[in-house]
Every structure is written in structure tokens, then in C-alpha cells.
Subunit: 406 residues, 2 copies
């Protein structure tokens, strides 16, 4: 079994790196604060005697060649970038548990049949640069690295410039190791395991994700003198879209979720009717056909609204990923490991996007979930008990052992 | 009659001061760019041989003592601060026409029975610091100057610090001259005069204004994993309020207008349900009872929504002004002047707030409107023809002559 104290200590340490003046954890991809997190992770990799490699998109790999020689590696991965005002577990838990598993196997003199690698992928969250899961998407060949490095951030920066600036524009070509298998351990970030009193989720699929940025153009005019009937109010039209998405998702019997997380009005002045409203739409569904239906329904509503309110509306795609089915053999390995350790487990769907969904394009992949208290994530209140964290890491250990002895 | 070329040239000149990198006119109260506008105005006052006085709240006065001696002055005023991405006429037209009228009378050897003063009041727009019409409100005793100087701006600055920084924290006590009468010339900023083919509006009243800032508190959570039924989405709740206000105003038969001009979400990330939404509400109605009803309807809706969506909602008052009735003798003077010059004129209500509504608390006041093309204001497309601008300034000349010979 893994060393619980070492794992928990590292989670706490990394969780303090990148706090802003208000104490919020903000370690956005390729930022100064994320550099500090990366430096700490690399220091731990070196301390564990692993070979460190960084690729062009800034993905960091800790490689244990062991007795494996030239074989394809088992890869364990996740990410250490965070959202704004994040919790400490999302991503970091999987990366640090991966390191913990390798260090445990190494210290115990385990002789793997192939290399074992822990990966921290760049920009999984997608908050500063869209799309999300960018590092693993590039690694698996789904996005050209040159294009990815030119991604414009919400703060006007280019990802490539920022990676170079923080010293993580690496020399390896993305995809330089093709995994034999990929496993990712993550907090659930949803309410299912806790509600059902289970310790482990064997994640067999992951829902589709559609991200768009919608821009509505109306006319700035005086708030006091412009009759309601003469307005082309971009802010009002945006409000209608937000309400439409939510009311539609709420009244349907499907698991579709729809979220508007970002918004801005122009000129954003109290007595000026907004001339422009810009906002993001995050639509998800485990079923590709239904996700397409939801996108079509939104497009139809935007068209209707544009005519009704005499506003210009355009939508730009920021990310689009189809639902993913994970490797059933690895899923069964996870279930078996849970059974062996006497932990209650169920198969489940991931609501969040994860690097595993990208690596699944090039290698058999699956995920292990542990419970999230009250299903809260992307929030400083995100919490998983030490018992669950340790249990999850041990399941990961068992699954990796199984894959590395096969 | 006034010198048309000089007036139009000054309007153009001032309209180029305070353009930002994108060419937008942004001369927010007590900002660096507004300082440049103030400096230009003061230079023109001095050029015209007027005595310049600045009071504690930064109001600028150009005083022509003439033959008037110790009598109470006729005051002509408006403002030179602007909204974000403004037109060039709002406020500036009235101030520069006031200067033009005094300069014309002075050059022609007119002997007024009392001093004539042109005033540029601080922070009429209220975009950076609420409430609007702040300089004239303080001048008329409606707001304590010390409190006003401590107003916190949208950019975190204090008005008092900014006035001192730009050199316009003056030495006179606000209210140091009590006007005998006050006249303000302004573009209509609405569609009425143009629609009716009229050149002049004799403004007999001004609608009530209610500004609030609403804050909604929900829970940040993951956009992909949080079922719709478990969300406390502050952004969705904000959208419901925006739609409520507009739909209510649209479906009523009253002239009530409601506008949400500013909004912000926290943490404002694409895959995070907003934990907080903050937005402004601008409600106006010429009838005080109806304005109160609208405020009560909003409050009731917020209460309902808070229960329905399980979000916290609080509303803070930023400005509240009752409807104002102007002085009927001055209104009649305006109508008579228009008649004498053969200009079509009607009595009307002001939809916008103006410094005249504050000075009306301490002196007989009224306003003159000229047409706004397509009713557009608070927008770079704001436009009034030279013919209308000149006609309005001549009406102002006649009215001031009438008041200064009485
Ligand atoms: N796991 C996780 O929070 N990923 C971020 C990408 C997303 O699902 O929005
Ligand atoms: N005239 C004008 O635009 N005043 C600004 C105050 C308001 O919002 O009415």
C-alpha cells in the first residue's frame, strides 16, 4: 500500500501554492502561480528519482524506466492547473497519487514489465485558454501543437508566450511516448458516490462537452430617454438566452446540463443600454445525439431572438468533444481492485471533462473516482476525506500493478 | 445672436479631448482625461475675461460680474464629464452655449441687472461615482460635501482623492452663490422632438430616478457534474431579474423605463456555476407613486426569486430622486423666445437626469431641449444638426437676457 502521510502532505503543500491576496487558490494554466506549482511537482519527481521530461505544450512527465526498457509505458495522469477560487483536490490528487504509486512501487523493489510514467497535463481546466484538456488533446494528436500555442487567453496573452516565459516550453514532441494503458484517479466532483454511500467509482464513460462564446450586438442608448419599444438591448437578449438554457434543461427529463459561467456587457455603465453582451455557454450530455439536439435548440432560439429583439447574434465554438467510452478491461480491473480491498464500488459516467478522455484516443484508458462532499467542486469548499483519498490511491496502485505485470 | 462658428468650434474641440486608444470618447468624472477637458474649459473662461471659481466638489464657475454687483446671479449650467464611449453633445453643449451666451452679451456691451454665471458641474453622469448629478446635488445642499468626496468609484478610487489629484478640489464652499434663476440647455437624448418635427422643447418636468445595485449569492460548482436541480446559480437568477424588469416595463401602458446596464459574475469562469452576480438597476417614471410601485414590484420579485432559487439577494440604493417640476415662468419665457424666433416648440418631460433638477431645489429653474437624431444618446452616434445647436443657443441667449433685465 501507498504511504498515506506522504500523499496527504503533498496534497496540502501543493494546495497552498498559488493563493492570491484574498487567499483564493488561483493557479491558472501557464501563469506565475502555476509555475510555482510546476516547480514543486518537478522537485518531487526528482526527489523520487524519476526522469523529468517536458513537451512543447508544457506537459510534464515523471518517468520510471524500471526494468521496463523499451516497452510502451503505463501512464498515470491528471493536471495541476486550477480554476479561479478552486479547491485543492481537482487534478492535483490524481497527479500526486500517480507519483505516490510509482514511488511506492520503486521503494518496494517492484519490477514492472514496462516503464511507469506520471503526467501533469497543461491547461486541463480551460479557464484561461479554451479548449479545456488542451495538453492531453495535443499529446494525443487531436490538436496541432503550433495552433494550440497560439491560443488567445481571456487576458489577451498567448499560451505559447506564457509557457516560454515561465520556463515550461519543453523540448519533447507531444506524443513522444505512446501509453500501453492510461489510468486517471480523480475526485468525482459530483454527488453520486456520496449519495449512494460508495467509496469508489469505476468510470466507464464521459459525457460530451460543447463550449461556445455568444456575442449579441444591440444599440447603446440612454437608459432614461429611450422608450422600451425602441430599444435593441444586448443585455436583455443575453438574459433571455441564460433563462432559456436553464429552463429547458430543468424541464427536460434528460441529464443535459447547461451553464453560463462568464458574462460581460459593453459599455457596462449604469445609465447606458448595453450595446454588446458576450457570454459563454457550456452544454453537456452523455449522449451525442442529444447534445447535438441541444446545440440545435440553442441555435434556433438565438435565431428567433435575433429577429424578435432586432439584435445581431453570433456564436463561436470554443470546445467540442464527443462522449467517450473507456476501456472495459481497465474498468473491470478497477472493480476487481475495489472488491479485493472490500470497498463499495459502482460503474459511472463522468460529468466533468478529464485528460483521460483525450488519451483514450491513443491508448486504452479509464478513470477511478472517489467521493466529493456534497458534490461540490470548482469551489474552495471542495472536499474528500483522507480515508477516501487513501483508498483511491491504493486502488490506483493495484490497477497499475495489474497493468504492469500483465 | 450668438457666434455660431465659435460655439461649433468649441464643441468639436472639446469632443476630441479624452479619446481612448480605440478612439472612444471616455471623460469619466475626475479622471485624467476629464482634467484635460476641465483645463480647456477654464482656458476658454479666462480668454472670455470671466472670473473662474472652483468649489470643494470640483464644480467650475465662470463668473461675469458685469454691472450686476451684489445681486444673485443668473446661472447657466450643465456638465463636461461623459459616459463610456459617449457622444460629444451631452452636457458639453449646454456648458459651451452658456459660455457663448455670456461672451456674446459681454462683447455686445449688454448691461445685465445681475451677474451671469456659467457652471460645469462635477460628475453629472454618475458612471464612475453614484449618484449622478452629484456636483449640482452637493451645490444645492442635497448631499453633504464630505460624504460626496468619500464616494467609492467603480474602479475603487475615492472621488475626493481624484479631484485633488487632478487639481480640481477647489476652495469655494458649494452653494456660495444662490442663483436668482437657473437655465440649462441640453440635447433631448430622446426621440420626441425629431418625431414631431420640432426645433425646441420647453422642459417643464423631469422624471424620477431610482438606481440600485443588486447582489445575488449562490454556490460556485462544477458546470459538468452538478445536476440542474442541485444548483444555486447566481447568474441564472440575475438573468431572471433582467427579463422580469424588461418584460414588465414592456407589457405595461406606462412610460416606466427599466435598464440593467452593468453586470459581473464571480468567479466568471466558463465551467463554474456563478457564485455571485452583481448588476445595476435603473428605474424611471415621471410619476412618483408609480416609481414607488415599480420599486416595490422589483423588491417583491427579488424575494420570490430568492426563495425559489435558494439564493441570497440584497439590493443597495445608489441614487433616488423624485420627479421634479420646473419653474413655469421660465418655461413660458422659453416658449416666448421660440415663438419670437419662429421656431416650433412644445412643452415636454425630461427622461434623463440633469443638473437643473438639483438646482431647482434652490432656485427657479427650467431647461431647453434641442432634437437628438434618432433619439440616440450615450452613444458615439449621438447627433444634433448645427442649425438646431445654433437655434438652441439663441433661445438660451434670449431667455438669459429676459431674466437679466427683469
Ligand atoms: N475535471 C475538471 O474539472 N475538468 C475541467 C474541464 C471541465 O469539465 O470543465
Ligand atoms: N443627461 C444625462 O445623460 N444625464 C446622466 C444622468 C442620467 O442617467 O440621466
Amino acid at each position: 500500500s501507498i504511504d498515506p502521510a506522504r500523499l496527504l502532505r503533498r496534497i496540502s503543500t501543493l494546495g497552498e501554492i498559488g493563493r492570491d491576496a484574498e487567499g483564493r487558490l488561483v493557479r491558472l494554466a501557464a501563469s506565475d502561480s502555476e509555475k510555482l506549482g510546476r516547480d514543486q511537482f518537478v522537485a518531487w519527481l526528482e526527489e523520487a528519482g524519476l526522469e523529468v521530461a517536458v513537451d512543447h505544450i508544457g506537459n510534464i512527465f515523471g518517468i520510471w524506466n524500471g526494468a521496463g526498457g523499451e516497452e510502451k509505458p503505463i501512464m498515470i495522469g491528471s493536471h495541476i492547473d486550477t480554476v479561479i477560487n478552486a479547491g485543492i483536490y481537482d487534478g492535483c490528487y490524481g497527479v500526486l497519487a500517480g507519483l505516490e504509486v510509482i514511488q511506492t512501487l520503486k521503494d518496494e523493489g517492484f519490477e514492472p514489465s514496462r516503464p511507469i510514467v506520471v503526467a501533469a497535463f497543461t491547461n486541463e481546466e480551460g479557464v484561461r485558454y479554451a479548449p479545456d484538456m488542451m495538453g492531453s488533446l495535443v499529446y494525443s494528436g487531436g490538436l496541432d501543437v503550433a495552433a494550440a500555442l497560439k491560443t488567445l487567453g481571456t487576458d489577451g496573452t498567448l499560451l505559447g508566450d506564457e509557457l516560454a516565459r515561465i520556463g515550461y516550453a519543453g523540448t519533447h514532441a507531444p506524443g513522444f511516448m505512446t501509453p500501453h494503458a492510461y489510468v486517471e484517479l480523480h475526485i468525482e466532483q459530483g454527488p453520486v458516490l456520496e449519495r449512494e454511500g460508495l467509496s469508489v467509482g469505476a468510470v466507464e464513460n464521459l459525457q460530451g462537452i460543447s463550449w461556445q462564446r455568444v456575442t449579441i450586438d444591440g444599440d447603446a442608448n440612454h437608459a432614461g430617454t429611450t422608450p422600451i419599444s425602441m430599444r435593441r438591448d444586448a443585455g436583455y437578449a443575453a438574459a433571455r438566452v441564460i433563462a432559456f438554457l436553464r429552463d429547458r434543461a430543468k424541464s427536460s427529463n434528460t441529464p443535459t446540463v447547461a451553464t453560463v459561467g462568464c458574462i460581460a456587457f459593453e459599455p457596462n455603465a449604469i445609465n447606458v443600454i448595453p450595446s454588446r453582451a458576450t457570454f459563454t455557454v457550456d452544454l453537456r450530455d452523455p449522449d451525442e445525439d442529444r447534445l447535438k439536439e441541444e446545440e440545435a435548440a440553442l441555435a434556433a432560439f438565438l435565431e428567433l431572438l435575433s429577429a424578435e429583439e432586432k439584435v445581431g447574434i453570433s456564436a463561436e465554438r470554443l470546445a467540442r468533444f464527443e462522449p467517450v467510452k473507456f476501456d472495459s478491461a481497465i474498468v473491470r480491473l478497477i472493480e476487481a481492485a475495489a472488491g479485493d480491498r472490500g470497498l463499495a464500488c459502482r460503474r459511472m459516467t463522468s460529468g466533468a471533462g478529464h485528460d483521460a478522455q483525450m488519451i483514450a484516443r491513443i491508448a486504452p484508458s479509464a478513470m477511478i473516482f472517489v467521493p466529493s462532499r456534497s458534490g461540490i467542486s470548482h469551489n474552495p469548499k471542495e472536499f474528500t476525506t483522507d480515508v477516501d483519498l487513501i483508498a483511491g490511491a491504493n486502488i490506483l496502485l493495484d490497477v497499475v500493478c495489474g497493468l504492469a505485470t500483465g
